[in-house]
Structure formats: C-alpha cells, structure tokens
C-alpha cells in the first residue's frame, strides 16, 4: 500500500529543517536520544519451572548489596542496592534537585554523584556517599572536596554526547553558577572535551595514581566512558588502573547536548555491557574491575537484566529525575504555555524553564520542587527498583542479585540475540556468534 505521506520527509524532518534554516547552527536539547534501538525490553528472563525451584518471591531473603572498586581502594564503595544516582551538575539542576537526589540515595544506602561544576555543599551534606567527578572542565574542582568524597570518577565521556564536553546555555549560567565555575556570567558554556592535564591512556594511568596519592589510596577511582569503542576503551581504562569502569550508553540522558550527538553517536546499553564484560574477561579482570552500566535504566527489571549481562551495578539519571517529578503535570506548572509541550513530552532542560523546578536556576520555578518530598519519591523509586530486581532474582531461584547471569535470559529479537550474545527465544542460536 502506498503511504499517505512521505516516509523520508516526515513533518518532523520538515519542521527540523525549517528550524535550522532560521537558526543557522545545530539544535540543542536535553533528555535523551529519540532513536529506537535494541534495549532491555528485547530480553526476557527464564524464571523457574520444573528444572529448578524458586525462592519465595515476596519474602525470602535476597541480597542486593554490592561492593564497587575493591581492586585497589582500601575503602571500596558499598551500596545496599546495585543502583546509584549518576553525575548531574549543579547548574544543570537546581540546588533543591541535587539535594533531593543525594538525600534519596542516602535513604536507600546508595550513592549520588556530583557532575560538572564541583561539589555543592548542600549535596555533600545530604549524601552519605558521594562520588566526586573529575571532568575535563575541572569547574570548581577542589582537592579538599576530593578528600570528602567516597569515590572519584574521571569522566572521559558521556553517553549522551561522547567526544564532547558538557554544555550549559547562558540562561542557566547565572552569577552564582558562573562564580562557582570561574566563568563569565551568562555565557553559553561549552566545556572542554579533553582533560587539561592528560590525553592518552598512559597519561591516564599516572592521573589515576595522582588521585590515589591525594586520597592515600582510600577511595575507588572510577573511569566513565561514553559507549562507543567499548572493547578497546574498557581494556585501556582497566590497564590504566581503574577500580571501576562506567559504560554510559547512547540512551543516557543530558541537560543539554547537540541533537546530532544525542541521536547519531554511541551504542546502546545492551551491547555496551556485553562488550565491556568480554573486554574485562579477556584481561582476566572481570570481577576485579567493577563494571557499572548506565543509559536508559528505567526499572528494576532493566537493572536486573543489566546485572545478568555482566554489570555489577547501574547508574540512573533520567529515571531519578522523573521520580522527582520531571514531566509530571503538577498543579503549579503549565507545560503548554511555559515550554510549548504537554507534560510527558518535555525535553527542554537546556532552556532552564523546567516547569517542575528540577532543571532550572530560576528561584520561582525551583519553589515548585519540595526537596524533602522529592527525596521521598526518588527513594521510593529506588526501593521499587531494588524490590523488582529481587523479585526477578528470586523467581530465578537465586538469593543474591550478584548471581544473575546471561543464562537466565533469552532474546526476543534476532538483533537482541546478537547484541546480548544470548540465544533467540525458541532456538538454541546466538545470532552472529555461532
């Protein structure tokens, strides 16, 4: 049948060209990629039947505690649930949002992460466990703060915009943000893509040692990669001495990125984890270097699948923000008039006009977010993720999320079989690998 309109030159494409014709540059947006790619929904667990017996799904003990970064650190990061809040900057987010995220993580025995722009005192105070990012920009970086952290994370790249630095539009670079970053007020901040003091993996090894020297080897040093050439990058990070490797996929979120990067760079989460696992296994370091997966983790089921594929833990960003009220039609907000879209469709973090007070520096908008109530919601969401993962784990007859493995799942599509390196449902075939 002939379609009623062009499938190549859709209305969305036409609108996009019109916008660029007016603008004269790449477009910028927040949230995450709009591409449809293979994801965790394309995998399913094989819960118990007659070949093995389950644990009581709702009650029987199931451990969810994980330890990250025990390779070299004398004080590795112990999390009561295998999920933590990923790095999101004070600047991209409001004080209330950052504080709520830190508090929520503390409520469930997990950790949060600083993001670009340094360590916010309120976030430090709210967070029992805080990961301090070492970014190419080094905005606000302070060795005193490094000593207060429970882990350091050297950011090589972000999944939402690999190969580039952070971005914060001028509407959010108000005086207090500019001061904390040593930047002129109001600029459209485009952070460096390369670190100022090291370039390649051999230099990174010395940088990692420097962080260890500054912290007396107490805290784990993590390396965060935007998932692209995962196999080589993970091997190089591990060889450089990372305690933890974070693989951040193309499904990861951002407060602002060029759309071209969001939608046309990086690889999905499922193959990222598998490639990283195999890279570490090749080096004999799987189980020694901790592997963290991030990008598009939306539930405890996603988290359990990530763990089954080989991750030790997950990091979430957008999921936590949605729990905080992102895209929720709260009474105080009028999405249509304020950001031109309805609640549920907003991806306008870069504008600073967040109708729910999360991704903004506007004090009036920030009042719409009650930090304490927000922390409760995020903690509830994290608890739900933990319970979902435990529920699935028990249904597989296992009492520890660390026992999840690829053999617990099958793929629902040929593509997922190839990417996850597990059999297609109803077959014994792992596509692309037999």
């Amino acid at each position: 049948m002939v379609q009623a309109s062009s499938q190549v030159w859709s209305q969305q494409i036409i609108d996009d060209i019109h916008a660029k014709a007016d603008l004269g540059r790449y477009r910028i947006r927040g949230f995450s990629t709009f591409q449809k790619v293979t994801h965790f929904d394309d995998l399913t667990f094989l819960s118990t039947g007659l070949t093995r017996f389950p644990l009581e799904g709702y009650k029987e003990k199931c451990s969810t505690q994980v330890t990250l970064g025990a390779r070299y650190a004398s004080e590795p990061l112990v999390l009561e649930t295998p999920v933590y809040i990923t790095g999101m900057s004070y600047g991209a987010l409001s004080v209330s949002a950052k504080t709520a995220l830190g508090k929520a993580a503390s409520m469930v025995g997990s950790a949060s992460c600083t993001g670009d722009g340094g360590m916010l005192p309120a976030e430090r105070e709210a967070s029992d466990k805080l990961i301090y990012q070492v970014l190419p920009s080094r905005y606000g970086f302070n060795p005193h703060h490094l000593l207060e952290a429970q882990a350091a994370e050297i950011v090589v790249g972000q999944g939402a915009k690999p190969g580039t630095g952070g971005m914060l539009m001028g509407v959010k670079v108000l005086d207090h943000i500019a001061e904390s970053r040593d930047l002129p007020s109001g600029i459209d901040q485009r952070s460096p893509a390369r670190h100022p003091d090291w370039l390649g993996p051999d230099d990174l090894a010395v940088k990692i040692e420097q962080i260890r020297e500054a912290t007396d080897g107490r805290i784990p040093v993590s390396v965060k990669l935007g998932a692209c050439r995962v196999t080589d990058d993970v091997k190089l990070a591990a060889k450089a001495g990372a305690d933890i490797v974070v693989v951040d996929s193309m499904l990861a979120g951002t407060g602002a990125s060029g759309e071209a990067l969001l939608d046309h760079s990086g690889i999905p989460t499922v193959p990222s984890i598998v490639m990283a696992r195999e890279a570490l296994r090749d080096m004999g370091l799987y189980g020694t270097v901790s592997l963290v997966a991030s990008g598009g983790i939306r539930s405890g089921a996603d988290m359990a699948k990530a763990l089954a594929l080989g991750a030790d833990a997950c990091a979430i960003g957008i999921g936590a923000l949605v729990a905080l009220n992102c895209n929720r039609d709260i009474p105080e907000a009028d999405f249509e008039s304020e950001v031109g879209v309805s609640a549920g469709q907003c991806h306008h973090c870069q504008t600073g006009k967040c109708p729910v007070g999360i991704a903004t520096q506007d004090p009036e908008l920030e009042k719409r977010l009650d930090s304490s109530e927000g922390a409760d919601r995020v903690a509830n969401f994290l608890n739900s993720m933990t319970m979902e993962a435990a529920l699935l784990t028990r249904s597989l007859g296992k009492g520890d999320v660390r026992s999840l493995e690829p053999e617990d799942m099958v793929a629902l599509t040929i593509e997922a079989s190839a990417m996850a390196r597990i059999p297609l449902v109803g077959t014994n075939k792992v596509f692309g690998w037999d």
Binding site: G24, N142, P143, L147, D182, D188, P196, D197, D203, E213
Partner: protein, 227 residues
C-alpha cells in the same frame, strides 16, 4: 626540618611523609626525586618543600598552601589545580604546566611545553623562557606571563584572564586578540620579573579574549532568557 630520600620510598610513603611533616609546618627537603611521577601530591597545609632534582608528572599538584622549590626539570602537569601557594621550578616544564590552576603562583625558570596554563582559573604562571602551542587554551581567569616566544594557537577559546608574551607569537588561537599593554601593566610585570630574579625587561604584548565565542550567534525562542 625533615629530609626525605625518595630513592628508598614509594610514592605513597613519600607523599604520606610529606603530609605528616606539613601538618607541623616543617621545612621538608626531598632528595633523589629521580624524575618520578606524583611527588608532593595533595599537600593541603602550609609548609616549605625543597625538591633536589627533576620530577615527573603531576609534581606539586592538587596542593593548597605550600611553597615548593624544585631544582631541576618537571614533567607534565606541574602544579595542576594549585589552589594557593607557590611553586618555583629552576629549569624546563613539560606540557600542561599549571593546568586548571585556581590560585597561587607558579614560576618556570626555563621553557614550558604545550598547553601551558590550560584551563587556568586563577593565579599567575610566569615562564622565563618560551612556551609551546595552545598556551592558555580555554583559560578562564588568571595571568600567564611568557618572557620568550609562544607557539601556535595561543589563547585559543580563552574566556577571561590575560596572557603576556615578551617574544614572538606563533599564531593566535580562536577568539584571541592582541592589545597594547598599559604602562601600569608593564610596570607591574617588570616588578614581577624582578621579584623572580629575571633581569630582562621585555616589551610585552597582551593577549585577551575577543569574547566573540561567548554566545551562540542565534538562539531558539526557549533558549533565550525571556520568552
């Protein structure tokens, strides 16, 4: 006075010994540094450290307060992220000296490699000799003074701060421009050189940001501050 022989200590043992001595404000001498990496890292107490020989990468980095004298050469990232204090190097520095420095003073008696003062956020970097390409790259605040020549792309994408060059300029980086220093600038600079034991009085040129890259040329409606 504490004397530490680096030859017989691991980097961890050496740095922990320095930190311990720094707590009491001691004068610390480090012998036989052997150009090793990560010497005197993360020292956050005021003290005086003399290093008798060349050092590797990240010497005297992530510091706040100490006064460090290094009699020799240094590898990459000398004084990285210095918060306050002073570092004096008698000979040449590798790439990225004073990277992301936030305060204090760093003096390089000889030449500096590429990316000197990259991402600087404060303080003063004084280089007695020449500096390599991308000096002052994405510099945010502070002052870089190069008595000799600089390589290509100096001041590329700098936000604020100022770079003074006494010799030849290979080329300017994106959004950088040369302006004439004022007499006050020159008197201040010459005083700085005198304090640092440099006898030359170069007629410096001053490099600052054109500020044309501060903003995108055009914004979408919602990206503007007022809808």
């Amino acid at each position: 006075m504490v004397s530490l022989d680096a030859h017989s200590l691991s980097a961890r043992e050496l740095n922990q010994a320095i930190k311990k001595a720094a707590l009491t404000g001691s004068q610390i001498t480090i012998l036989n540094p052997q150009a090793r990496h990560n010497i005197a890292v993360g020292i956050l107490d005021s003290c005086k450290i003399d290093i008798d020989g060349s050092v590797g990468y990240y010497a005297a980095s992530l510091m706040d307060g100490p006064e460090v004298n290094i009699d020799g050469n240094a590898g990459w990232a000398l004084g990285e992220n210095l918060m306050s204090g002073k570092i004096v190097l008698t000979k040449d520095a590798g790439a990225s000296v004073a990277a992301s420095m936030r305060g204090g003073d760093i003096v390089v008696g000889g030449n500096a490699g590429a990316r000197a003062g990259i991402s600087m956020k404060g303080g003063t970097l004084l280089i007695g000799g020449n500096a390599g390409f991308l000096t002052g790259f994405m510099m945010q605040k502070g002052r870089i003074v190069v008595c000799g020549d600089v390589g290509d792309a100096v001041g590329d994408s700098m936000y604020e701060g100022v770079i003074y060059v006494g010799g030849d300029i290979g080329s300017l980086g994106a959004d950088a421009k040369i302006i004439e220093p004022s007499e006050t600038d020159l008197i201040e600079l010459w005083g700085l050189l005198e304090q640092s034991g440099i006898n030359d009085r170069p007629r410096f040129r001053k490099i600052v940001s054109q500020k044309k890259l501060y903003h995108f040329d055009n914004l979408e409606r919602l990206e503007m501050s007022a809808v």
